[in-house]
């Protein structure tokens, strides 16, 4: 309103002085410039798949004049039914992030110095293919190792696997975030295959062992939808949720019962619960008799465990363990879930599911069709540490951040490291060549995903927004490299490669042609049926029994000057360890601490054992491997003796909002490491 500015000067208090101000002062000081309004040109929607995590939700991008200005879920898409998780809602910020990489970068100074030379795409690809051919002709058995993000099958992964296969064998690895993955190691040893689907909303009782599934589930939206179904699903009564975890997490807060347990001892608790079920004869005898093997050996191996030993180690009162065993057997169907933690925990929890007998058609666990995804087999860093490759190609994953202990060594020993990434993250910083790739909204999608209601879905969608900079689709990069190395067997460009693959999938009748909206097709074989693919066709306890014999389960922890236990978790905003580079996600990172924007350490006031430590003070958290800085957040609800730190912060790069913010607890240890605190 023009009036107010002019009149202010007319009656202004020190009109003599300010009226002599030059024009710029008037403009700059008082009136923010009203820049020209954005042209309200044509407006429309683009439909695509969200690529920020393996879930594969369907997103609808609102575009005005070619800019993406709004984002929401596709209402009838089977995976997310219109909803989105915070990362999906913030994907516009990744697309228009100011610190995105725009041209290929060749390292100039020493590694990690951050001095780059901007080179053209041809130069970059030519240099890389020369390096690969020279590595191939070299003496080493493993010339190239390709590392990608653990996720469901997608076309870009397929192109990278094609490139890796054309150069050598078993040089294709995946790196995931174990805390946000299903216990696929247990599935493999007990069912013979990883392809096991879990239908959370069918459970009447859900017991989670150390798995903060509301915040770090493999498909975050599915977790939120399933929770709503469990609590207020139509035509069913309210399910009960028990959370067994060292930290009073968001899931523990929403659960009906929180069982605090010492970090790393969830598996032990599962075993003693199994023993109780067997002792009370309340396990599903039909399933054990008909569809399982090695039960008797497993039962005998449990004899060594005693209730009060386990109760002392896990710090869970005996009475509560007994009550939990009764509850497990009374509320049917009960499900026990965990994430991809230690192997013993995974198998113990899954053995519990076998005892509860809800595996198979219609049960809570069932088989799953569709293409095998790219899952980390957990051996990548050991095998590569033993024999580091000539050349390491890293595709959109940040090993130096996610598991610094193993990968720092591998990267150091690898002569040439090339990274495909949209941002300059830790791995890109210490690599020799960085190839900027499209962000998910600029990429074409063709990928398999499993939805909560058990139907597997093929998502196939064109790019939502035209690429902003001279970046390339990761699939394009890998195809170009394969073409340069392995001659002409590969199609001319990436789009025809995608079309070719779609034709092949259609030929294998993998999906119904007609079903699905614009961008997805229902898989023909729904996720159902018995998941057992073992040689005996049955559920096998043997692997678990063998491990039980080896480990002396009851050894108490020795103190050694580090009295406290470290507990790590990934808040939903930084799920899979990614997301710190988006400011809107920083705001929802710690719902309990509200606008943290830094690494906070949750603990009980007595735990701190630092005289006079007050809430909000800066502290050092130190383990045998190093120390990091954090802000103490004292809460009487926290479990004494446990220090909980969020994973996802503490980047050395990754854009202006993540760089130098907070610290990365993965550098000083993992779940259950002993730490001590002192004031900063």
């Amino acid at each position: 309103m023009e009036i107010s500015r002019r009149n202010f000067f007319k009656f202004g208090i020190f009109s003599g002085l300010t009226s002599a101000l030059p024009v710029w002062a008037k403009k700059a000081v008082l009136t923010p410039k009203e820049d020209a309004p954005p042209p309200m040109g044509e407006e429309g929607f683009a439909y695509t798949i969200c690529g920020l995590c393996p879930a594969g939700c369907g997103i609808r991008v609102r575009k005005v004049d070619g800019h993406a200005v709004g984002i929401s879920g596709i209402p009838d898409h089977p995976i997310n039914q219109g909803g989105l998780c915070p990362k999906g809602a913030a994907s516009l910020q990744e697309l228009y992030h100011p610190d995105r990489l725009r041209t290929p970068l060749l390292r100039r100074g020493p590694r990690g110095s951050g001095e780059w030379k901007e080179i053209s795409w041809d130069e970059a690809l030519r240099a890389l293919s020369e390096k690969i051919t020279r590595a191939k002709s070299g003496s080493k058995i493993k010339p190239l190792a390709a590392l990608t993000r653990a996720r469901a099958w997608d076309i870009q992964g397929e192109a990278l696997r094609g490139l890796a296969d054309s150069i050598g064998k078993d040089n294709f690895f995946a790196l995931g975030f174990p805390k946000s993955e299903f216990p696929s190691d247990a599935y493999e040893r007990m069912h013979g295959s990883r392809r096991v689907a879990f239908h959370m909303s069918r459970a009447k009782l859900l017991v989670s062992f150390g798995f903060d599934w509301l915040q770090s589930y493999p498909s975050p939206v599915e977790a939120q939808m399933a929770f709503a179904q469990l609590r207020r699903g139509p035509s069913r009564d309210r399910a009960e949720i028990v959370q067994i975890e060292p930290r009073f997490s968001v899931t523990a807060g929403k659960a009906d019962q929180w069982v605090p347990v010492r970090p790393g001892t969830e598996g032990l608790l599962a075993l003693i619960l199994a023993k109780q079920l067997i002792a009370n004869e309340t396990y599903d005898k039909a399933f054990i008799h008909a569809q399982s093997r090695g039960f008797e050996a497993f039962k005998k191996s449990l004899d060594a465990l005693s209730l009060d030993d386990v109760s002392k180690t896990t710090e869970v009162p005996e009475k509560e363990i007994r009550l939990l065993a009764v509850k497990l057997s009374s509320l049917k169907p009960a499900a026990a879930i965990t994430n991809r933690g230690p192997l013993l925990t995974q198998m113990a929890v899954h053995a519990l599911n076998a005892l509860l007998g809800n595996i198979g058609t219609g049960g809570v666990f069932s088989g799953m069709e569709g293409r095998e995804g790219f899952w980390a087999d957990g051996l990548a860093d050991q095998s590569l540490q033993a024999r580091p490759p000539e050349l390491l190609l890293v595709d959109r994953v940040d090993p130096l951040f996610l598991s610094p202990s193993g990968w720092k060594e591998i990267v150091a020993k690898t002569p040439f490291v090339a990274t495909v990434s949209s941002f300059l993250n830790e791995t890109a910083l210490s690599s020799d060549l960085v190839l900027p790739c499209h962000t998910p909204l600029e990429r074409g999608h063709c990928s398999f995903h499993v939805s909560a209601n058990g139907s597997a879905v093929l998502g196939a969608a064109p790019e939502a927004v035209a690429p902003l900079y001279a970046t390339k689709d990761p699939g394009d990069i890998f195809l170009a490299l394969t073409r340069a190395l392995a001659g002409t067997r590969v199609p001319a460009d990436f789009d025809s490669y995608v079309m070719g693959h779609m034709k092949k999938l259609r030929a294998e009748k993998m999906f119904h042609e007609s079903s699905g909206g614009k961008i997805w097709r229902e898989m023909s074989a729904a996720a159902s049926g018995k998941p057992h693919a073992t040689r005996s066709g049955k559920f096998e306890f043997d692997a678990l029994t063998d491990i039980l014999k080896l480990q002396d389960v009851k050894k108490a922890r020795e103190d050694g000057g580090f009295p406290l236990h470290l507990h790590l978790y990934a808040p939903l905003a930084f799920s899979f360890g990614e997301g710190a580079h988006l400011p809107y996600l920083q705001s929802v990172a710690g719902p309990q601490t509200q606008e943290a924007w830094e690494t906070w350490a949750e603990m009980h006031p007595e735990t701190a054992s630092l005289p006079g430590l007050s809430d909000g003070e800066a502290i050092w958290v130190e383990s045998r491997r190093g120390k990091i800085k954090a802000r103490a957040r004292l809460s009487r609800a926290a479990m004494p003796g446990v220090v909980s730190l969020p994973v996802g912060l503490g980047h050395a790069g990754y854009g202006r909002w993540a760089k130098g913010l907070g610290s990365n607890p993965l550098e000083i240890g993992e779940e259950g490491t002993e730490v001590k605190l002192w004031k900063a």
């Binding site: 000067f9 003599g16 009226s19 020209a36 309004p37 042209p39």
Partner: protein, 166 residues
């Protein structure tokens, strides 16, 4: 001593007056092509003919694109005064019209709602352009909040602040 005070006072006064005038939306804009509304309207052209997309709210009250002019001003039209527009048409370069009516960024105004749906006559807000011969340099009728609210009040349409302030 006295003249110093007088100097300071007069300086302050002049500064004040200049500031008041500087605050005005002064200055007229110079159009690249001397377009004569009167002549074209006399030929029977409608507003929406050149200002395309008004009724369905496409462009924000779009200024005519060069294709619209090209429809009539083809190369074989010799009228000397229309030479300027012919250059643009032949070069197929968009004509850089200077916008005179700028909706402020904090105001929501939809031509579709007013022209497309409410079927209001363009002259209601933009004044009777059929009498304007000279190229447009200033708003024929200055559009102000009071004017919009007055019309809304007369037409018994909502005067809720949120209707226009976004």
């Amino acid at each position: 001593m006295k003249d110093l005070a007088a100097a300071v006072l007069s300086l302050a006064f002049i500064g004040l007056v200049w500031l008041l005038l500087a605050g005005y939306q002064s200055g007229s804009k110079k159009q690249p092509v001397a377009y004569n509304h009167k002549k074209h309207i006399a030929l029977g052209l409608e507003c929406a003919g050149c200002h395309t997309g008004i009724a369905d709210g496409k462009a924000r009250g779009g200024l005519p694109t060069v294709e619209v002019c090209a429809a009539c001003h083809t190369s074989d039209d010799e009228n000397p005064r229309a030479k300027a527009v012919r250059d643009y048409v032949s070069a197929n370069k968009p004509i850089p019209w200077k916008k005179v009516y700028n909706v402020p960024t904090h105001v929501y105004f939809s031509h579709r709602r007013h022209v497309g749906l409410a079927k209001l006559d363009c002259a209601l807000c933009h004044g009777d352009m059929s009498k304007v011969e000279a190229p447009v340099t200033r708003q024929a009728v200055t559009i102000s909040m009071a004017r919009c609210m007055g019309c809304h009040h007369r037409m018994k349409v909502t005067n809720d602040c949120l209707a226009c302030h976004k």
